[in-house]
C-alpha cells in the first residue's frame, strides 16, 4: 500500500481520534490520580493493637508521669499521665516530643572511640575494657583523686552508682551541673542547715512574689507550675513578677515590676527593710533567727534605705513599699527565687535575700509558703568496700566546689589535675558559661568518657562514647525535686526495645566496675542495674514497681526548722557584669527551648518564635529606645568581652532599655539539621563571674556592644 502524506496524516488523525475515544485514556487518568494518592515515598504507618504504657519522663527535673500509646511494639504518642501526683495529665512539649529523641539522627548508635579527629566504632567489650583499663592505670599510679565525674543531679540510683564508683575508686571529685535543685539545697544549707531543701507551695499561696522565677518559662517542674499558675487564676491569688523583661510569666502575672538586672538581691533586702521598719514581720519567727537578727536589722536599716534601693533597682519607692507591704500582709505569701528556669547562673546573695523574705514573714512550713525539710532519701545501697587507695584518695579535698571552677583549675594548671573525666546526662561544653574555655579544659584532660545518648557538644570532645538508652528505653527511678511542695519518686520503664546498640548507664557502670579489681569491683556485686535498683529501693520497690510512683512526702512538713542569717549579716557584695559595652546582654529562658543537657526536638524547634530564631540567625530582643534606628531583622554584630556573634534585631517594648535579650538553647553544633546550627549559643558570649563568699558563677549577663553588620 502506498502511503502518501495525506493518507499518513489521515491515519495519524484517525489513530489519535480512536485512542481518544477508547477507555485507555480514562483508565490512565484514573490510575495516575490513584498513584498520587499512594506515593511510595510517603510512609504508610502500620496499624495494630493499641496499648498504653505508663512511665516517667526524665528529660528535665520536672519528672512528669507519661502515658505512651503503642501500636503493637511501636510507641506512637507520648501524653501526660492522668492522676500522676506531679502533672495529672498535662504534658510539656518536650515530653510529648520524646519519641523524636528516640529516633534522633544524632543518636550515638554504638560505642565509639576517638582516633585522631574521628570516631571509630568499637564493641562494648572493647569499650568497657578500654575504660576500665585506663581507670585501673590511674588508680594503680596512686592518684585515684584525678578521676572526676559530672552528672546532672545528686539523687537517684544512677547518680548514686557514679558516686559509688568514684568513692570506691578513691576520688572525691564528683560534680553535678547547676540546677534549680542544687540552688535550693544551697540556699537551704545557708539558712536552714546542710541536707535540707526547699519546696514552694504554689498551689495554695495567695501571693506569689517571684524574683524572676520563670514559673511558666520552665522553672522547677514545668507542668506542675503551669497547673499551679492556672489554679492561681481560679483562686484569685496574686502573682507579682520582678524581672527586667516581660517574660511570659511577667505577662501572665497580675503585676510586672521591671527591675535593673543584678539588683534583685538589693530589692529583696530593701523589701526586708520595709517589712522590718513597718513591723510587718512575724515576730515569733524572727525570734528564732540565729546568726544576728539585730545585726541584720541594723545593716538593712543603714544600708538599705528606700531611696537608695529605688535608685539601685530603678523601681519607685512607693512600689517597693507597696509590694513589700502586700507581701507581708498576705495570708499565705511566698517569695520565689531562681531567675528564669532556675538552672542558670545564680547569686547566693540573691537566693538567700529572697528566701529571707519568706523567713521574715514566717511562712516556712506553713500552707501556701515555703517548705523546708531534709532531702528525701529512699535508696539504700549496701556499704561500700573501701581499700587503702580508696580511703586515701577519697579523703583528699575536692578540686573545686562547683563544676565551672573545676574547668578553670584544669585550664590554670600545666599538669593534668584531672586524668580522667566521666560525663553523664550533662552537656558542659554547651551549657556552661564561656564554652570555649570549657572545651579547652576538655582538651587538656587526657581521658574523657561520655555516657550519652546523643552526639552532643560534650560527646564530641570525648575520647570514648558509651551510648546509653534514652528514657523511653530504660528502667530508672526518677526522684522529683525542683521546688515542688511534695517529694515523689517515679519509675521510668522501658517501653520499647533499644533502637540502637546502647546500654543502660547503670549496667555500663557495673560492667566497668567488675572489670576492675579491689574495692571497686567488690562494691558492685549486682549482675544488672535492675537488680541493683530493686535491692537499693528496698521497701519502696514494691509500691514503686506496682504503682509507678511513691509519694515520699506531701503537705505541710510538720518538722522544726532553724533559720541562720549569718550569711547576709556579713553583707556580701553583689556581682557586677564584666566588660565595658553600653548594653547588657541577658539570657532569656523560654519553655519552647530547653537550655541544659537535652537539646530541643525538631517539633520544639518548630514552635520557636521567629522573634527568637530566623533561618540560621538568632534574633535578639531590644527596646526601640535602644535600637537607634535599627529595624526588625536588621543584622548586627554583638560583641562581648568573651565573644562576638552575628545576630538579628527584634524590637520589643517588653524589654528594659539598655538590655539585649537573647534566647538560651540555640546554637547547637551537632549532626541534626532540624535542631543544630541554628543561631548562637549564648554561653559562647557570656563568661563566668564568681561571687565572693559562695564561689558560684553568678554572671547574670555581660556588657555588650552592637554595631550594624
Amino acid at each position: 500500500m502506498k502511503v502518501d502524506r495525506r493518507s499518513f496524516l489521515g491515519l495519524g488523525l484517525g489513530a489519535v481520534a480512536g485512542f481518544s475515544v477508547s477507555p485507555v485514556l480514562l483508565k490512565l487518568t484514573d490510575d495516575s490520580s490513584i498513584w498520587t494518592q499512594n506515593w511510595p515515598w510517603t510512609p504508610v504507618p502500620v496499624d495494630g493493637e493499641v496499648m498504653y504504657e505508663s512511665s516517667v519522663c526524665s528529660l528535665c527535673p520536672g519528672s512528669c508521669g507519661i502515658s505512651i500509646r503503642k501500636i503493637d511494639d511501636r510507641p506512637v504518642k507520648i501524653e501526660g499521665l492522668t492522676e500522676y501526683p506531679i502533672n495529672d495529665g498535662g504534658a510539656c512539649l518536650h515530653g510529648i516530643s520524646g519519641l523524636q529523641y528516640l529516633y534522633d539522627p544524632s543518636r550515638v548508635k554504638t560505642p565509639l572511640k576517638k582516633n585522631g579527629d574521628k570516631f571509630e566504632e568499637i564493641s562494648w567489650e572493647e569499650a568497657v575494657s578500654l575504660v576500665s583499663g585506663k581507670l585501673a592505670d590511674i588508680r594503680n599510679a596512686g592518684t585515684p583523686e584525678k578521676l572526676a565525674c559530672i552528672t546532672d543531679k545528686n539523687t537517684g540510683s544512677v547518680s548514686g552508682l557514679f558516686k559509688r564508683l568514684l568513692k570506691t575508686f578513691g576520688s572525691p571529685n564528683f560534680y553535678i551541673m547547676p540546677s534549680l535543685e542544687s540552688y535550693l539545697e544551697l540556699t537551704a544549707a545557708s539558712l536552714h542547715g546542710k541536707g535540707t531543701t526547699i519546696g514552694f507551695d504554689l498551689d495554695n499561696s495567695d501571693f506569689i512574689l517571684s524574683f524572676g522565677a520563670g514559673i511558666i518559662e520552665g522553672w522547677g517542674s514545668p507542668v506542675a507550675c503551669f497547673k499551679a499558675n492556672a489554679s492561681r487564676k481560679e483562686r484569685g491569688a496574686t502573682l507579682c513578677q520582678i524581672e527586667p523583661r516581660l517574660s511570659n510569666t511577667a505577662a501572665n502575672a497580675d503585676r510586672w515590676v521591671p527591675v535593673k538586672p543584678g539588683t534583685e538581691a538589693d530589692l529583696a533586702l530593701g523589701m526586708c527593710a520595709v517589712i522590718l521598719k513597718n513591723n510587718l514581720f512575724n515576730a515569733a519567727a524572727a525570734a528564732g533567727f540565729k546568726g544576728g537578727f539585730n545585726k541584720l536589722t541594723a545593716l538593712l536599716q543603714n544600708d538599705y534605705p528606700l531611696s537608695k534601693i529605688s535608685e539601685i533597682t530603678g523601681i519607685k519607692e512607693a512600689d517597693i513599699e507597696d509590694i513589700a507591704t502586700q507581701f507581708a500582709k498576705a495570708k499565705m505569701p511566698v517569695a520565689v527565687f531562681g531567675k528564669g528556669r532556675g538552672d542558670g547562673s545564680q547569686s547566693l546573695k540573691e537566693l538567700v535575700a529572697v528566701h529571707t523574705l519568706n523567713c521574715l514573714v514566717g511562712n516556712i512550713n506553713k500552707e501556701g509558703g515555703a517548705f523546708v525539710q531534709p532531702v528525701k532519701e529512699y535508696l539504700e545501697f549496701p556499704e561500700e568496700t573501701m581499700d587503702d587507695i580508696a580511703d586515701k584518695g577519697f579523703a583528699q579535698a575536692k578540686l573545686s566546689l562547683y563544676v565551672h571552677d573545676l574547668f578553670d583549675k584544669v585550664n590554670a594548671s600545666s599538669q593534668p589535675v584531672v586524668e580522667a573525666l566521666l560525663v553523664y546526662q550533662s552537656n558542659p561544653c554547651y551549657s556552661l558559661h564561656d564554652t570555649k574555655a570549657v572545651k579547652q579544659a576538655f582538651g587538656k584532660i587526657p581521658f574523657v568518657v561520655s555516657f550519652s545518648s546523643f552526639m552532643d557538644e560534650t560527646a564530641k570532645e570525648a575520647d570514648i562514647i558509651l551510648p546509653v538508652h534514652t528514657f523511653i528505653e530504660r528502667l530508672e527511678d526518677i526522684p522529683s525535686g525542683a521546688g515542688l511542695s511534695k517529694a515523689v519518686v517515679g519509675l521510668s520503664k522501658p517501653v520499647v526495645k533499644p533502637v540502637f546498640n546502647t546500654k543502660h548507664p547503670g549496667d555500663i557502670l557495673i560492667l566497668i566496675a567488675k572489670a576492675m579489681d579491689g574495692s571497686v569491683a567488690q562494691s558492685f556485686e549486682w549482675e544488672t542495674f535492675d537488680e541493683c535498683l530493686e535491692t537499693a529501693a528496698g521497701d519502696t520497690w514494691g509500691d514503686l514497681s506496682e504503682n509507678g510512683y511513691v509519694i515520699l512526702s506531701e503537705g505541710v512538713p510538720k518538722i522544726p526548722h532553724e533559720i541562720d542569717i549569718s550569711f547576709l549579716s556579713k553583707a556580701p557584695d553583689s556581682v557586677q557584669p564584666t566588660g565595658d559595652g553600653d548594653l547588657l546582654l541577658i539570657p532569656i529562658d523560654n519553655m519552647r527551648l530547653p537550655s541544659a543537657a537535652q537539646a530541643a526536638s525538631p517539633f520544639a524547634v518548630k514552635t520557636v518564635s521567629d522573634e527568637e530564631l530566623k533561618g540560621k540567625d538568632t534574633v535578639v530582643e531590644i527596646n526601640p529606645k535602644t535600637a537607634k534606628g535599627l529595624k526588625n531583622y536588621d543584622r548586627v554584630t554583638l560583641t562581648t568581652p568573651v565573644g562576638t556573634a552575628k545576630v538579628m534585631i527584634h524590637l520589643s517594648e517588653g524589654i528594659m532599655p539598655g538590655l539585649v535579650g537573647m534566647a538560651k538553647g540555640l546554637g547547637h553544633s551537632f549532626d541534626n539539621k532540624y535542631v543544630s546550627n541554628k543561631g548562637v549559643n549564648i554561653n559562647e558570649l557570656i563568661g563566668p563571674v564568681i561571687e565572693s563568699g559562695s564561689g558560684l558563677d553568678a554572671a547574670f549577663g555581660i556588657k555588650a556592644k552592637i554595631s550594624k553588620a
Partner: protein
C-alpha cells in the same frame, strides 16, 4: 445527610487566654497526634505547618505598660453565615475535598481528594489551612513513630486541624460496641485539650448544656439582633470569637478578663468598641 434523625453534635472549644502560658504543648501534641511533618527551617511561619498555631498578641503600649497574651489558633470549624454549614472554605472548595459534618459541626479535609488549588486557604481569614509545599520527609527510622490513625499527607495538598476527628470515630466505635447511643464528654477530647498543662482548653459539645464548654460559652442559639449572619454568640461577657462580625461563626471561643484582648479578637471602627462592649453578651433570646 439525614439531619432530622441524628441528634446533631456541635463540637467546639473555649480557650482561656488568661490561663494560656504560650508553652507550645498544644502545638506539639497536635503535630505528634496528627503526623505533621517538619523540615529543616521552620522559622518562616508562613510555610510552617502548624494546625495549632499560637499567636503572640501585644497591647501595643510601650515599656513598661506592654502586655502580652498568647492565642492558640486551631481550625475554627466555622459554621458559616447563619451557621448553615457553608464555611468560608467548604463553600469554595471546587472538588468537595473539604466538607462540613452536619452531625458534628466539624470541617473535614480529604487529602486524597484535594488537588491543591488552595482556594480554601485564600478564603480562610484565620490562616488555619496549610499547604504541603514539600513532600513530607522523616529522618531515617523516625517514620516508626507515625500513628496509623491519621494518614501522612502527600505534597501538593492542603491540610488543617480536624478536631482530632479520629478520636471521635474511636469514641463512637467504642460506644457502639458498648451498646451506648452516644459518647461521653470525656471520651472525645482533642490532643491539644488533653495536653494543655494549664487546662486552658475546654472541648465538648456546644449543643449539650451539660458539657463544660456549653456552661462557659452559653451560646445564643438565635441570630444576633444586629447581624443575622452571626449565630451562637456567647452570652458570657468575657467570651468572644475571632472575627465574629464576618459571620464565619467559628466553634472556637476565647475567654479573657482583659478588655484589650477581647477587643483584639475582631476589628472595630473608632469608638465602636466602647458601644459594642457594653452590649456584648447581653443578646437575649429573641
Amino acid at each position: 445527610m439525614n439531619k432530622e434523625n441524628i441528634k446533631a453534635h456541635k463540637f467546639g472549644m473555649v480557650i482561656d487566654l488568661d490561663k494560656c502560658t504560650g508553652c507550645g504543648s498544644c502545638m506539639v501534641s497536635c503535630m505528634s497526634e496528627n503526623n505533621v511533618p517538619f523540615k529543616e527551617d521552620e522559622s518562616n511561619k508562613k510555610d510552617s505547618i502548624t494546625w495549632m498555631r499560637v499567636y503572640k498578641l501585644t497591647n501595643g503600649k510601650s515599656f513598661p505598660d506592654t502586655e502580652i497574651v498568647y492565642l492558640p489558633r486551631p481550625c475554627q470549624h466555622c459554621g458559616g453565615k447563619g451557621d448553615h454549614g457553608h464555611s468560608p472554605c467548604v463553600s469554595v472548595c471546587p472538588a468537595t475535598a473539604t466538607d462540613y459534618g452536619y452531625d458534628t459541626g466539624i470541617v473535614s479535609q480529604i487529602y486524597t481528594r484535594c488537588f491543591g488549588c488552595r482556594y480554601c486557604m485564600g478564603a480562610c481569614p484565620y490562616h488555619a489551612r496549610y499547604f504541603n509545599w514539600w513532600d513530607p520527609k522523616w529522618p531515617e527510622g523516625m517514620e516508626k513513630y507515625l500513628s496509623p490513625n491519621v494518614s501522612p499527607r502527600m505534597r501538593g495538598v492542603v491540610e488543617k486541624c480536624s478536631f482530632c476527628y479520629h478520636r471521635y470515630q474511636a469514641a463512637r466505635d467504642k460506644a457502639y460496641y458498648d451498646g451506648r447511643e452516644d459518647i461521653e464528654e470525656n471520651e472525645y477530647q482533642t490532643a491539644c485539650t488533653t495536653a494543655c498543662p494549664a487546662g486552658a482548653i475546654v472541648f465538648g459539645d456546644l449543643n449539650n448544656p451539660a458539657h463544660r464548654v456549653h456552661e462557659i460559652v452559653k451560646p445564643d442559639p438565635h441570630p444576633a439582633s444586629n447581624n443575622p449572619n452571626v449565630v451562637g454568640k456567647s452570652r458570657n461577657p468575657n467570651v468572644f470569637r475571632l472575627l465574629e462580625r464576618l459571620g464565619t461563626n467559628p466553634k472556637v471561643y476565647y475567654l479573657s478578663e482583659r478588655e484589650w484582648v477581647r477587643k483584639a479578637g475582631d476589628n472595630y471602627l473608632e469608638g465602636e468598641w466602647d458601644k459594642i462592649k457594653n452590649h456584648h453578651g447581653s443578646e437575649s433570646h429573641g
